[in-house]
């Protein structure tokens, strides 16, 4: 469905990621592991079109994304839930969700259905639908960010560190919901530092270090790998 072939991205002369190869098949959950600054977010920025690769090619359903602008990429079916729960803080929860359906803005009925879908997934958002997004708690903001990404009805959803800064109990819920979204037919590419929780739901993973992929394999393989255990699971 999505493949990154020999992708390098430079910020000035600094190579943020170098020679990355990633393959995501339809229906999978794929996790990118790595510490801060390892290149996960740059990879996401590149897939969503905000940064352009200096070398390599990105293919989505057989079509090259190299020359497609970020807003067109959303129309093609790649939805992004950016790192740090970037919401529109002054807008209400419902307005945030409606903004997420921007690419479907002419299809009023569909938006209503998607709203229902998100509210069923995150009932707390329905209760708070008229509150300003900025007034929500961290977990609720993350739910809203995921909900907003869902509103564009993506075929592939990019989730950048959904668990960061959340209480363990909420993290668990978050991953359950991600799994549910995946079961309903959305392919998921996930960046995480919480390897333990992420590998439990993922099909396969890639480990980033200093802008390169140093390890890849099925979840089970990575989970059993000593280095991964040492670096990310702490056991």
């Amino acid at each position: 469905m999505l493949s990154l072939k020999n992708i390098s991205v430079k910020y000035g002369s600094f190579a943020a990621i170098h020679d990355i190869n990633i393959e995501v098949k339809e229906g999978e959950i794929v996790v990118l592991l790595g510490s801060n600054g390892a290149g996960k977010s740059t990879t996401f920025r590149t897939i969503s079109g905000l940064s352009k690769p200096s070398v390599g090619e990105i293919l989505f359903e057989g079509k090259s994304l190299n020359r497609v602008s970020a807003d067109k990429i959303v129309q093609l079916g790649i939805g992004q839930c950016p790192e740090g729960r970037k919401l529109f803080p002054a807008m209400s929860v419902q307005e945030n969700l409606r903004m997420g359906a921007y690419v479907h803005r002419r299809k009023k009925d569909e938006i209503k259905k998607s709203l229902e879908h998100v509210y069923n997934l995150f009932p707390i958002l329905r209760d708070k639908k008229d509150d300003a997004a900025g007034s929500l708690s961290g977990g609720q903001q993350q739910m809203l960010a995921i909900g907003r990404a869902l509103m564009s009805k993506p075929k592939l959803m990019l989730l950048d560190e959904p668990s960061v800064g959340l209480a363990p109990l909420i993290v668990e819920q978050m991953f359950e919901v991600i799994q549910q979204i995946n079961r309903e037919g959305t392919t998921i590419l996930l960046a995480e530092q919480n390897a333990n929780a992420a590998l439990k739901i993922a099909d396969k993973g890639y480990v980033f270090e200093n802008g390169s992929i140093v390890l890849q394999g099925s979840s089970a393989e990575l989970f059993a790998n000593d280095e991964v255990r040492k670096a990310y699971i702490g056991a």
Partner: protein
């Protein structure tokens, strides 16, 4: 819109309508009409700077383009006022489109500086293109708006109502834009362009649309000015005018719907009151404006709105605090 807001707005409109009837002083009506014209221009600037986050300093230039287009079409081409007005808006919009196409490749302060230059170039062209604009001599004898059936706009009062009509029209358009998906799209762009793009907003297309709308509104303001004052010189395109606009907007409240009205009215009235100080007025305005920007960057309306919101949410919070423990656990 709450009930109180509706009453206040209706009251203000009513006051604006009866104002010329209760005030026998032509001078007041003249000042009021001019303020309305400035307000329209400030609304143009507000849509771009306040809602989309792009501070354009070229707006005096587009104000002047609107004014000169109308002046030249009515004086030199001897066109009827109404088609000339429409045509001047189109001219301003087309020039705005091309200016925006280039300027919007820059961002933030670069955009401000770039548009400052664009505005200055417009001023220079008007000032130096003698054969078309009459240069420093200015354009004289711009006619009052032509009659529409039995309605004539020869008198000061009738002109006042005409300008008021356009002001209300602009406010209504702004209200509709701001409370539509387009308005939220512009706010999303102001928030973060990256984020806007990742939910599928074509930022360039939207920014350009706003730029054109806001220049057209500045042009409308200029055209109304030309037909009201009947004489225009290149000075109306000077940098000083755009900073006047900006001052009105900052004092009133950037990115608020009533900010342009509040700010313009306040400053215009104040500067009329302080006229005995002549140019030393600026000694008063300068420091006051600086303090305002340091302590109340959202202007009068923005600050008042924030206070209102704070009060409401603190009422909400105390109510929450009074709830039994288990009901508040969520979060």
């Amino acid at each position: 819109m709450s009930k109180i807001q509706r009453i206040v707005i209706l009251g203000l409109i009513l006051f604006a309508i009866v104002f010329p009837l209760i005030s026998n002083n032509d001078y007041f009506i003249h000042v009021m009409t001019l303020s309305f014209i400035w307000m329209i221009g400030v609304y143009g600037l507000n849509l771009l700077a306040g809602y989309t986050g792009y501070l354009s300093l070229a707006h005096a230039g587009f104000f002047a383009i609107g004014a000169y287009s109308l002046g030249l079409l009515t004086v030199k081409a001897e066109m009827n006022f109404w088609p000339a007005l429409l045509l001047s808006l189109i001219i301003t919009g087309v020039l705005g489109f091309f200016a925006g196409l280039i300027s919007l490749r820059t961002k933030e302060h670069f955009f401000a500086i770039y548009t400052l230059c664009v505005g200055y170039i417009i001023y220079l062209v008007i000032d130096k293109w003698d054969s078309l604009t009459e240069g420093v001599r200015g354009l004289i004898g711009i006619p009052a708006p032509a009659n529409i059936g039995p309605l004539s706009f020869e008198t000061l009062q009738s002109h006042y109502y005409l300008v008021l009509f356009f002001l209300l029209l602009v406010v209504l358009i702004m209200y509709r834009i701001v409370h539509s998906l387009s308005g939220r799209t512009y706010i999303a762009i102001r928030n973060s362009e990256d984020l806007a793009q990742t939910i599928g907003i074509s930022t360039m297309k939207n920014k350009l649309t706003v730029f054109v709308i806001s220049t057209v509104i500045a042009g409308l303001s200029g055209a109304l000015y030309a037909s009201f004052v009947r004489f225009i010189g290149p000075d109306i395109g000077s940098i000083a005018i755009v900073f006047d606009f900006l001052t009105y907007l900052l004092v009133g409240g950037l990115g608020t719907l009533s900010g342009p009205i509040v700010g313009t009215l306040l400053i215009v009235v104040l500067s009329q009151r302080l006229q005995f100080l002549q140019d030393y007025r600026m000694l008063v305005f300068g420091p006051v404006l600086t303090l305002l920007i340091i302590f109340y960057p959202r202007g009068i309306v923005g600050t008042a709105a924030a206070w209102g919101q704070k009060r409401r949410s603190s009422v909400h919070k105390t109510r929450l605090n009074n709830l039994p423990e288990e009901q508040v656990k969520e979060g």
